[in-house]
């Protein structure tokens, strides 16, 4: 049973990490807590539900489409709504709340409130040290790892990635060096949208798709990012693993509500004792 609990935990944590990455990116660079992050996830899933489930496009193309739609949405939303609010943490938070509510209701009106099941591209399971690993979740995990790797390389080696890090650390100096903060902000939201949309698209066939499906993943992303440190990528990975595993253990032996309470208590303790999280940079 221990191996199964471990496998369950790791599989869950990889998606949390992808969600946390986008969340922490926006905060690290723009100091905005994006309460609408879950809705970008949900839109990726809805796109897959429609293009893969109804229209029959190949699964990975549909997932990519989901990611692209969320990415574009992110860029648009940033440019029109969030750009004027940079640095104003509270307004940004409240604006993201508004965006989230609007996205939820638009999708609600479009597809109705019921949870729908997407077609499933992968079935079957394989075994790892006595634990059962479903293939569909394995695919998600592998894609998540690939995404993580690509994202890391992008951040470290591409011009835009380096520019983003610079703006995160010191926007004034960055602009003195000729980095257009506008481009960086748009990129941050766009990439965050892309990551959330991909995560949602990948996860669409695993559970069900509905207008409210983004709420729980956002909550998890929030917990992971606080634990790992707002603005830290390695923190997001570590936080994701810790939360995923602890949840798996607590849910198996108690129930999921107890696990959620525990997650929030962890948030409380972290913010009170060490607000920058396990690996976060110091708050400006």
């Amino acid at each position: 049973m221990i191996e199964q609990i471990f496998v369950n935990g790791v599989l869950a944590s990889l998606i949390y990490v992808i969600m946390a990455l986008g969340f922490t990116l926006i905060f690290g660079i723009m100091r905005i807590v994006n309460f609408a992050h879950g809705e970008f996830y949900m839109i990726g899933a809805v796109i897959v539900l429609f293009f893969f489930g109804t229209l029959g496009w190949p699964f990975f193309i549909a997932v990519a489409a989901g990611g692209m739609v969320s990415a574009i949405l992110g860029v648009v939303v940033e440019r029109v709504l969030f750009r004027p609010l940079v640095g104003d943490e509270l307004s940004g938070m409240i604006m993201s709340l508004a965006v989230g509510i609007i996205l939820q209701s638009v999708v609600l009106i479009a597809i109705g409130p019921a949870e729908q099941s997407a077609a499933r591209p992968f079935t079957g399971t394989w075994h790892l040290f006595g634990a059962v690993v479903p293939w569909d979740r394995t695919v998600v995990a592998l894609c998540a790892l690939a995404t993580l790797a690509v994202f890391y390389l992008f951040l470290k080696f591409s011009r835009l990635g380096l520019a983003m890090q610079a703006v995160a650390q010191d926007p004034q100096t960055a602009s003195l060096m000729g980095i257009e903060s506008g481009v960086v902000y748009a990129a941050a939201f766009g990439i965050a949208g892309l990551l959330a949309g991909l995560a949602g698209g990948l996860m669409a066939p695993i559970y069900t798709v509905g207008p409210y499906m983004g709420e729980l993943p956002m909550l998890k992303a929030f917990v992971v990012v606080i634990l790992g440190g707002l603005g830290s990528i390695p923190g997001a990975v570590m936080g994701g693993l810790l939360i995923g595993l602890s949840e798996s253990v607590l849910t198996t032996f108690l129930d999921s509500t107890a696990a959620l309470i525990a997650s929030f208590v962890i948030v409380l303790l972290v913010v009170v004792t060490r607000p920058t999280g396990l690996m976060g940079k110091s708050v400006r």
């Binding site: 100091r31 604006m95 509510i101 209701s105 009106i109 208590v265 913010v271 009170v272």
Partner: protein, 306 residues
Amino acid sequence: MKPVHVFLVVAALALLPWGLQSEYVFHIVTMIAIMVPMALSMNLMLKIGQLSLAQPAFMGIGAYGSVLLTMRLGVPPVLALCLGAVFSALTAVIVGPVFLRIKGVYFVLLTYAFGQIVNLVFQEWTSLFGGNGGLYGIPKFSIFGLRLAAVQQYYVFGLLFTAFTYAAMRAIERSDIGALFQSLNENEMLSRSIGSNALAWRIAAFTFSAFIAGISGAIYAFYLGFLSPDAFGFRLSVDLIVINAIGGATSVLGPLLGSILVVPLPEVLRDARQYQLLIYGLCLMIFLIFMRKGLVSLIQHHLRTA
């Protein structure tokens, strides 16, 4: 329009239900009367520059606390109502010193997590709180032998409390304490140099806001006759933010007007409920884009000096 005129209009509106003689209208205005103090309690925290998402949790503690005291221990409702609010205030006093050291967005996240924990406990501890199924059979409120059974009576009850809270907030705003709060919001160094203990005053504001929320919760519980955890969740915080944003957070009148506008909205949109959320979001967005003054500049001051 001078404030006095606005006040007269509000007073007239408050008396309107007796003119319309509709129980349905009375229900709506009673809910408004319960929501105004809640909006004021969030507003108090906004005045000192903090956005607290814990107000629904305090409301819930007051609600469940007073009801359980009456139902399980036979405490007279009046006393139970006060004790319920005291529980909320005590909770604030306990977590306040820890939470209020933290500023800005982290404080918001902290109160968010706290609110979620309290709500989840209401859901999880079913033997005490009834869980998701709810707590039913709450007896009617009675005060010195008078049993409140009709909605009109609860409306009066709610109105009285609203008036009290409004007056209290207004008094605070005008007094030295109000000036103190404003300085806490704008310039902590200044307030420190005056010699006031900034943290203690923050805790005081937090505690008072929790007390108000607790009484609102108790009135809500006795009026409705049943309780369920979903009434005290994040959605309520969103509603309170929308009310304060639309009504304007700079003056005490703001939350009052905001509640009058926002609380009846679900009823007005009864036939198009899916659009209700959409309208909420759009209103919030529009206010943030065009009228940030009310809510935001209040906070901005504080954050820039943090």
